[in-house]
Amino acid sequence: MSEVQAPVTYVPPKARSLFEPHRLVLMAVAAGLVFCMAWFMRWDWLPRYQERLIYGVGQTLLMLFSTAIVGFLFAVPLGLAQVTGPRPLAWAARGFCTLIRGTPLLLQLWLLYYGLGSLFAQYPEIRSSFLWPYLRQAWPYGFAALMLSFAAYEGEVMRGAFAGVPKGELEAARAYGMGRFTLFRRIWLPRAVQRALPTLTGETVLQLKSTPLVATVTVVDVYAIISRVRQETYLTYEPLLLLALIYLCLTGMLVYAFKLLENRIPNRGA
């Protein structure tokens, strides 16, 4: 799409003291709000669902990490093919990325689950194969949809990152006699990943936020558990607020983990 993805890096506000006067006031207001919520809203259902909620969080994280890791493994060749691949390969990679990025994930998920899934069922060969016990479950479709989506979005990011590695650094590697593979492994890939890291953080958070969609095809994640709470207790706000809080915490942890990773390689304005 765009030639150069300006890295919209997230710049945290200046780490000032947490205890400036206006912050204390804001924190007091926040504490008051939380207190009101705890006091005036109904939370008696919480203990009953505690165990299932923890299970749900586990499922959500499992879904996130498995799809992000496998998706990234696909993203690297997708990005590379677009930058240096032979024409047909570059076009194929580009087409795939456009296709996935151009349609809603929800739709892809349904297409896979209700469309492809019921096609499978029409073939007795598949129904009797050893794969069927997996194919009749929902999570493989959720996994596939999320993984492909991550691969496509990251493929685009990696394309920009590969293309953005300063040409001179690659030339230097070539000038010192590095072969193509060594050059890729030692210089091009690590440098591209380094450049892509800030964007990757954002994309992984987006991926986390996409996981609840799998609940619509009966995969049980934390969102599905909360939906169940809502349907069984008929509470409108409480379960949703808890859900928002859970996701906020997960996001916070993710961002922190990536920060640690980023800090290992100082990178000034690259």
Binding site: G168, E169, A172, G177, P266
Partner: protein, 257 residues
């Protein structure tokens, strides 16, 4: 590789960028231990010539021989040349140390990692040994304290010295310098001069592109003036600077003095 006296021999080098013919048949021979200074106006093709020697730029025509080994080339489809043996090119390149005009340090590595990268991962030296050599080199260019810094956090002069150390670490037979002092203040220029002087004394062959005539004069034993894609004039520093023959060179020299 035969230890001939001829370290580099370039014959009839042509290079064209689209409609622009930058080099129009440049031939140059450097004997072992020679320090050749390449001077010329901006855009006269000095960097391009250096880059053609190690095939970072593919010449349109011509032949390059390093220590007796001629780089095998074949015609590509578009009227240019391409190397016929990739491995040979890689091997020869490890004998050529290049210091780029814009340094081109690997930004994701510290200075030390930059210096040992090629010895360890291309030449297959043991890591410990490479580090030992690197430390000595970094001391020599005055960067020992900065060995764990990343390039982005160093001044231009420091980056330039790191790039020199990186090139020296592969113990090249021939060093190619592209404006090695452009980012340095007068005092640091002196230091780099010393390093290059030492290298010359070790009988290492060098070709250096420079805008600083004083520097060229002090360090080179042969000066080549590029103009209009050709070698307009060449000779000893004294001959070139004190007694230029061609009009162009006279004008160039006078504008400098």
């Amino acid at each position: 590789m035969a230890d001939t006296a001829q370290a580099i021999e370039v014959k009839g080098l042509f290079k064209r960028f689209g409609p622009l013919e930058v080099l129009k048949g440049v031939s140059l021979t450097a004997n072992q231990g020679d320090v050749i200074a390449l001077i010329g106006g901006s855009g006269s093709g000095k960097s391009t010539f250096l880059r053609c020697i190690n095939l970072l730029e593919l010449p349109t025509a011509g032949q390059v021989t390093i220590h007796g080994e001629t780089i095998a080339m074949k015609k590509d489809g578009n009227g240019g040349l391409m190397p016929s043996n990739r491995r040979q090119v890689q091997r020869i390149r490890t004998k050529l140390g290049m210091v780029f005009q814009s340094f081109n340090l690997w930004q994701h590595m510290t200075v030390m990692q930059n210096v040992i990268e090629v010895p360890v991962h291309v030449l297959g030296q043991p890591r410990d040994q490479a580090i030992e050599v690197a430390e000595a080199l970094l001391r020599r260019v005055g960067l020992y304290e900065k060995r764990d810094a990343y390039p982005a956090f160093m001044s231009g002069g420091q980056q330039q010295r790191a790039a020199i150390a990186r090139a020296l670490a592969i113990q090249p037979l021939v060093m190619l310098f592209d404006e090695p002092t452009s980012a340095l203040d007068p005092e640091l220029v002196g230091e780099v001069l010393t390093v290059i002087g030492d290298l010359a004394r070790e009988k290492r062959t060098m070709i250096l592109v420079t805008h600083e005539m004083k520097f060229a004069r002090q360090v080179a034993n042969h000066v080549v003036f590029l103009h209009g894609g050709l070698i307009e004039e060449q000779g000893s520093p004294e001959a070139i600077f004190e007694d230029p023959q061609s009009e162009r060179l006279k004008k160039f020299i006078s504008s400098v003095h």
